[in-house]
């Protein structure tokens, strides 16, 4: 099987006159956990929906070397998706939902499903509509993890959930899904929580991929530079996109090659990098 799962070239998507994606080129290899970061409306969800064949688009999207045609069911023999809203069918009970996916999805792994659901405390007879948001997300997650697919797309899957559940969610994914043959593309608000999981990040802004890089290499490329506030001009001379003032110090994320005498240097996190690349408010979704 190919080392590349997804190969995207010149992907462009218009909603009327609005260009949601602008000539996106992307390659997603196997055995990777990739973060997709961008502000609201940057094009993250549109990109994922194009990758799943849900939307008409220009350009080329390939999955394992085959063109992704719109509404081609074969995509889902290799890819599973958890959307940003509780997208389960609230008219069905938990048991009916499991039964439905078991019946329609040829990738359903009965053994794994039995293990996963045995450990969960999901009320099987309850209507999905009556479940809490956390329970719904858990059900969606367990159903998805019961599928033998090689690519998982997560579009803000933990939005609105408490921190303990979010931790559990990502730990479950790591423990039950990820291996060297499989890849995960995660779009999330809470960058800090997935920071340790991610191997690559993709930053998208105004429909364009402005950065796609290995996380460790990126953290080597940037660092936080701090100087007393009265020397802020020395930092501003390097035109940082975002700066901060704390306890008499002025800081910014700058290229690691920048050396300022007397400055203190710190390791950057992904939120810092995101802000330094995109600029604007600290809103990464």
């Amino acid at each position: 099987m190919s080392e590349t799962i997804y190969r995207i070239n010149g992907l462009t998507k218009h909603y009327g006159k609005f260009k949601a994606l602008d000539a996106v080129d992307l390659k997603i290899g196997k055995g990777k956990i990739i973060g997709l970061l961008g502000k609201n409306g940057a094009g993250k969800s549109t990109l994922m929906r194009c990758m799943l064949g849900f939307l008409r688009h220009e350009g080329n999207v390939e999955l394992y070397g085959g063109k992704v045609a719109r509404r081609n069911h074969r995509i889902f023999e290799n890819v599973a998706f958890i959307p940003d809203v509780s997208g389960l069918d609230d008219r069905l009970t938990v048991a009916q939902t499991i039964d439905y996916v078991r019946g329609v999805n040829s990738r359903w792994n009965e053994e794994r499903a039995a293990q996963l659901f045995a450990l969960s405390n999901l009320p099987l007879k309850k209507k999905v509509g009556k479940l809490s948001k956390g329970m719904k997300t858990k059900l969606y997650l367990l159903i998805t993890l019961s599928l033998d697919v090689n690519m998982l797309l997560l579009d803000e899957p933990t939005l609105g959930l408490d921190i303990a559940f979010r931790k559990e969610f990502f730990n479950t994914i790591l423990g039950e899904f990820f291996n060297e043959e499989r890849s995960i593309l995660i779009s999330t608000h809470q960058v800090e929580e997935v920071e340790d999981l991610l191997q690559e990040i993709i930053i998208i802004d105004n429909g364009r991929i402005i950065l796609h890089e290995d996380v460790e290499a990126l953290k080597e490329r940037y660092r936080v530079v701090s100087l007393p506030s009265d020397r802020s001009a020395e930092i501003l001379a390097h035109s940082p996109k975002v700066t901060s003032k704390t306890l008499g110090f002025f800081s910014a994320v700058l290229d690691s090659r920048v050396e300022i005498p007397g400055a203190s240097y710190g390791r950057v996190n992904l939120a810092d990098i995101f802000l330094s690349v995109v600029g604007g408010s600290n809103e990464t979704a």
Partner: protein, 286 residues
Amino acid sequence: MKQLKALFKKEWNTNRFTLLLPVYATLFIYLAVGIAVIVAWSQGVKPTMVMRDVETGTGAKTMGLFIMVFGTTLMTSFISIISAIAIGDNVLNGDARHKCEILHSSQPVPFPLLSGSKFAFMSLGPILVLGAVSLVNSLVISTFFSAVFGAQFGMGLVAWLQTWLQMGLQILLIGSFCWLFGSIFKQRSFLMMGLMIIVMEILILTLNSIFGWHIGSLSGFLLTKVLTIDLGFNDLAITLDYKDQMWDFVTNGWWRIFSWSNLLKLGYSLAFGVAGALIYRERELK
């Protein structure tokens, strides 16, 4: 086969109430009739009393049975048509309304199987329910008429079969027509269908009056050529007491069912079904 079963099961789980509307309505009528009979009985009235002064032959009584079964099946079929219209919209737009379109579209199910199962559920579901409910009705009515009045039991079943087939086709046709509009409009498709027909009707009238054209009425065409149904009401005017005329009536009923116009209706239904499925396929998921 496993996928088809799961798809049907999902539609059954989400549309069960609407699909079984004729069953609920029939049960309600049985309950009402049951109460009425108990009350009548308690007051000393026997069911046969209504017929005691009418001296008729077996033919007329059998025709009475025929008309009773025909009438009850017809009434039930109107509820089945409502059920088919509601299901047609729900199988196409219910997932979007309940914000679960992505879950259902993220399964490796070939599109013809997905849309085919929806169409089959929308059309065959109400037809089968109508068949089952009206068969029970016809058995009850036939048993009563043959036991009490000596009518020919089998004629009740013939009436059931003829009316069921004829109305089944009508359910298929009307359901498919609404399915087509359900694929075009995600919200209030039935209302939009009505509005669209009215708008086109106004447009035709305007063009005809401005340019002196003679474009036929769309609603007229739909009502008289497509959605119309010939149940043989005129034939009911025949004298009822002769077996030969009864036989003619039944034979004419079969000719009406296996006619070119019904074949054409079947064709219209399939055309509406395929067109609706293709339009549904072109939708973008939000």
